[in-house]
Symmetry: C2
Subunit: 278 residues, 2 copies
């Protein structure tokens, strides 16, 4: 018998991948959580029926949501991750020697536990003494910690279910307030092929809150369309004005300092999503 996991990424299109077996299935207080072992991508984490991460391509998302902001801020010490219970973003943030404390605000503790069990290489950083794991609503944590962080990374699920509030303008205003006066945020903002209205809206909302807003993309084969976007909001530092020479060398598989500025040379149709058409 052949088993295939199929995710309809839109109403009319999806991916299908052959699995060896289901490793774990549960309904947490927040979402369904499944882990399957695939032939192509190793272990695969599924939340509410959507691929969150896999052993083989996880490095792209986790590196790309982290290093652009951490190499734009000259001295990031206090970092907050909203969501990100699998630990992959924590692992990447810890590669920056200036970082003194990483707070992980994950609403669903079961994601953290499942990641430790089935994705040990992704969860590797969670036991580091610099890491403060808080199983809380990230929005509430942000409200209670004004003027605290150098960098805030919004590692959310899709804008359905528990993450809906993380894609709305009042949330970006709260993130702004939780950041210090030279702080930077990055949010994952879906596919430039399939989620154009959302990207336009989020880019406009972050632009109206932060003085500098930049979009960039990365190739993630298990995410819808294979192309994913990230939106950066910054109070002071522009990623286009960072000197490559002062970036520390970090051990990565996707991001490197040489691509830092090149990332912002977007395809024409993606660039257009960032331009105010009113």
């Amino acid at each position: 018998m052949e088993l295939w996991y199929t995710e309809k990424q839109t109403k009319n299109h999806g991916i299908t991948t052959k699995i060896k077996r289901t490793l774990h299935s549960e309904v947490t207080p927040f979402q369904t959580l499944d882990v399957v072992e695939t032939h192509q991508f190793g272990n695969l984490l599924v939340l509410d029926g959507m691929v969150m991460t896999t052993d083989k391509d996880e490095f792209v998302y986790h590196e790309m949501i982290s290093h652009v902001a951490l190499h734009t801020h000259p001295n990031p010490k206090q970092v907050l991750i909203v969501g990100g219970g699998d630990g992959g973003v924590v692992r990447e943030v810890l590669k920056h020697p200036s970082v003194e404390r990483v707070v992980l605000a994950e609403i669903d503790g079961r994601v953290i536990e499942a990641s430790k069990e089935y994705f040990p290489a992704i969860a590797a950083g969670l036991s580091d003494p610099k890491v403060d794991i808080q199983v809380v609503d990230g929005i509430r944590h942000i409200e209670e910690n004004p003027d605290t962080y150098d960098v805030v990374l919004i590692d959310s699920t899709e804008p359905v279910g528990p993450a809906v509030g993380l894609f709305q303008k009042p949330f970006y205003q709260k993130v702004y307030e939780a950041l210090k006066s030279d702080g930077i945020m990055v949010a994952q903002t879906e596919s430039p092929w399939f989620n154009q209205d959302l990207i336009r809206q989020v880019f406009a909302d972050i632009s109206s809150t932060f003085s500098i807003t930049r979009l960039y993309t990365a190739s993630i084969p298990t995410y819808p369309s294979g192309l994913w976007s990230f939106t950066l909001g910054s109070k002071q530092y522009d990623p286009l004005e960072v000197e490559e020479a002062i970036m520390e060398q970090i051990d990565t598989k996707y991001y490197h300092p040489g691509m830092h500025k090149a990332l912002f040379q977007l395809p024409v149709f993606v660039q257009e999503l960032t331009e105010n058409k009113e």
Copy 2:
């Protein structure tokens, strides 16, 4: 009844897309040829069971195989396209005013006819008086036309069936000979996620033939992994040394002169495919 077209892009992974209807199916002397109308991507051309192009994302492949070489060569006049019967590369090449003649060497005339019927926007350039359509074996055409072309673009199908010979070292040597003394070639070279051995081999083969070899990628959601690679071989001009200011403005949806050099800042794992590990 719902109809879904599923392509196994590897033995263990694929895409699945909902279709409205099958528009055309035939067995040509060279391959199977199907056209289906999809909900997500408009009309979709399938050769030997593999997605070749769709209405919605065709611009990426056609622009990206063309403009990098045509903006690297200072004065491209004679251009050969091997394969490319759908006409999309012809359309892009014709956007460069220096081009005097475009030869399309397509082995399967049925692809040309089907494209004219079902993909009129892609086939639009095929009736231009600068275009010389030859239904021939591209390898034979190249052998018979030494020292002829400024740019040769290898718009082949996958390295199975009729296109196998287009991924082999003796072919690149013949392309070298068909080019003038300052000529440039670009070949489509598959997915950096799923075809790493092929990319390594092709890059090494082109490197041993041409003095300058460069790899770049583009996001194509209907191709395996969503990330596609192109390999450029050049006798004289380096794409990294072209001045953006001298590139003419062209009407495009993906490529623009500002991304020309940025394209070569590859992800670490892709860059490694171009490095000789022996």
